[in-house]
Symmetry: C2
Subunit: 362 residues, 2 copies
């Protein structure tokens, strides 16, 4: 039994009601039901209908359930890129998407800025031959964020042709996207949705679907059981080609229902208020400094600080008080800490973290 | 709250201790821990070390954790077949593996017998050009089983060259394989391991690994995050490329530990004793008849009966007594029932089912 509060950037603190929903799932044997039954279809429909409401999704977008954001990167390339993709890269995860395109035999080009920096739209030149533009709205490794206004401005600059794929793995549902400007957005449930890992949610419009069908019609392979043409007809009847992670879909539906009761506007305001608390503390600390220099490029949900004390020492000092923050990513392991600010983290938990960091670290 | 016992062929009844392990996982916040932490590595090691013991796996075999058996079909073709695979087909799942090979642009050939029939080794002609031979040890849709002795005889007949891939999705750990005769075997955790769905276990030897590396060295794409060359170095340090289904890996380790306490020999004997009870009942019933004609081809774990009463009527009669059997697969939905006989099903539960079927159906 642990009382630790996980401010780690994912897996992270579970949404507070998850243990009670899991207990109900066990009592009702949700792990045993057939994934072809009406009971499962109702569970699936509950999750995606709730998501449509929470994300204010237009009717021309579909929701597909996969296993991870890694998988979505692979399926996106397989299904919507014949020759060439273009990637905004400013950290480990945006770089990985770029690499996956190359591993799948495509030409991948990139506009890269330093780890921890954001992007300036006027400096981005998208090749006219790029079929997919990979945007990272929130780079989990570095805490750099791309404002929705910048995404919209890039669309204006680039024109309507290439598919815009937006990584909101660790920010959704915080960004209020203009869905007329993007074609796909995806996230993992173990970040802002406060769920156990094992599910990636892929949201995509009719243009992505048409592209996959066109590639398939040309005789190109778009994958097998998790191609868009295989996933979509199942999704429309609230099913999946394979036996899916039923328990997690059940939990997703319940957490989203509670988020809808609160309302997405309230969720977003709470996220911003908590982010301000954390950033204000970091800015005033003698040990920490905000890693992302430009204020408009700072993530509201994954907050990164440079630390003079080794990150392991900060983590060690917090441990007796049942609080965990994340170490830096990769080579920043000891020189940065990462603090998740997700809907599962209450205002009072964030206040307690800031208070304790002030006391223990300065 | 339900007291229903699921004799459905997967998802099925959970192993009896799963709810208590899940409660412990929630209390210890296993859903929040980092998948790069030592705590996670220990959970992963616990699962695979236990599996090695249970399955009596030789050292030249590795265990990889994926999302589903569907995914394993796809990864197997991508990683070990350059041109051509050969498939034994006698039901919906073995047929699907064959189709996946074609969807991935390979030449797939097959030896097909009727739904519900097994295979005769002397009638199987494996093309000399086949790189992978797909064997279905237990066809979940039809209840036909391929004895281990037949697998070994086919290896003798075919010679050492092609990779032998064995589908034991709904039978593992019942079959006692001779691992010197096969190269890979795979299963899903929601069948005989009594776990919630969302994890496929892929066991493969050094020949499969070498093949993937050779294809990659030739400049061919073997996939990305879930290619063998990506999965293997992570598996060796008890990790996965993506954030995995941590909770299910945790549960797998605990269930396998309990199976090891019982011992695989006892598990196999219990499975056979329960199978005999069910088959004897079906053979003596006026309503049912055993679907698989030849006794040596009958599955011990997924038992299929032709039914005169529509399957839905059988299911309806059992429902008030908190018992669920599966309907037939696909076009056999009403003309067959499927009864799972997994380690999670106790002898007394099987006896109660047989008793109730006798009373309600004849």
């Amino acid at each position: 039994m642990t009382n630790k509060v996980f401010f780690t950037p994912g897996p992270s603190e579970l949404y507070p009601t998850v243990p009670q929903h899991m207990a109900a799932a066990m009592a009702n044997k949700i792990g045993s039901i057939s994934h072809r039954s009406q009971q499962f279809k109702d569970i699936y429909a509950h999750a995606v209908t709730g998501l449509r409401q929470l994300l204010q999704l237009p009717d021309n977008f579909e929701i597909l359930l996969l296993s991870s954001a890694n998988e979505i990167w692979e399926r996106a390339i397989q299904n919507t890129v014949e020759q060439e993709s273009f990637h905004l890269v400013n950290g480990s995860f945006s770089k990985r998407f770029y690499e996956i395109s190359k591993e799948l035999g495509r030409k991948a080009t990139k506009h890269e800025v330093a780890f921890g920096e954001g992007f300036e739209v006027d400096q981005i030149e998208v090749p006219a031959t790029a079929e997919l533009v990979a945007l990272v709205q929130n780079e989990t490794s570095s805490g750099a964020s791309l404002p929705v206004a910048a995404i919209n401005a890039l669309r204006e600059k680039v024109g309507p042709e290439p598919l815009f794929f937006v990584d909101a793995v660790s920010s959704m549902p915080h960004p209020a996207f203009d869905y007329s400007k993007i074609d796909s957005v995806y996230f993992s449930v173990q970040k802002c949705f406060g769920l156990p890992a094992g599910l990636g949610v892929w949201i995509l419009n009719e243009r992505c679907i048409a592209k996959a069908e066109a590639l398939q019609a040309k005789g190109l392979s778009v994958g097998s059981y998790h191609s868009i043409p295989s996933l979509l007809p199942k999704a429309k009847i609230f099913q999946t080609p394979e036996t899916p992670n039923v328990l997690n879909i059940y939990l997703l539906g319940h957490v989203v229902e509670e988020m809808n009761k609160k309302g997405v506007d309230t969720l977003r305001q709470e996220t911003e208020a908590k982010a301000k608390l954390i950033y204000d503390y970091i800015a005033g600390s003698e040990n920490f400094e905000v890693a992302v220099q430009k204020e408009s490029h700072r993530s509201a949900t994954t907050i990164i600080a440079n630390t003079k004390l080794p990150a392991s020492e900060v983590i060690k000092r917090l441990a007796p008080f049942d609080m965990a923050v994340g170490s830096g990513y990769g080579s920043y392991k000891e020189s940065q800490i990462r603090i998740a600010n997700f809907p599962a983290h209450s205002l009072s938990q964030v206040q307690a973290l800031v208070y304790k960091l002030k006391e223990l670290v300065s």
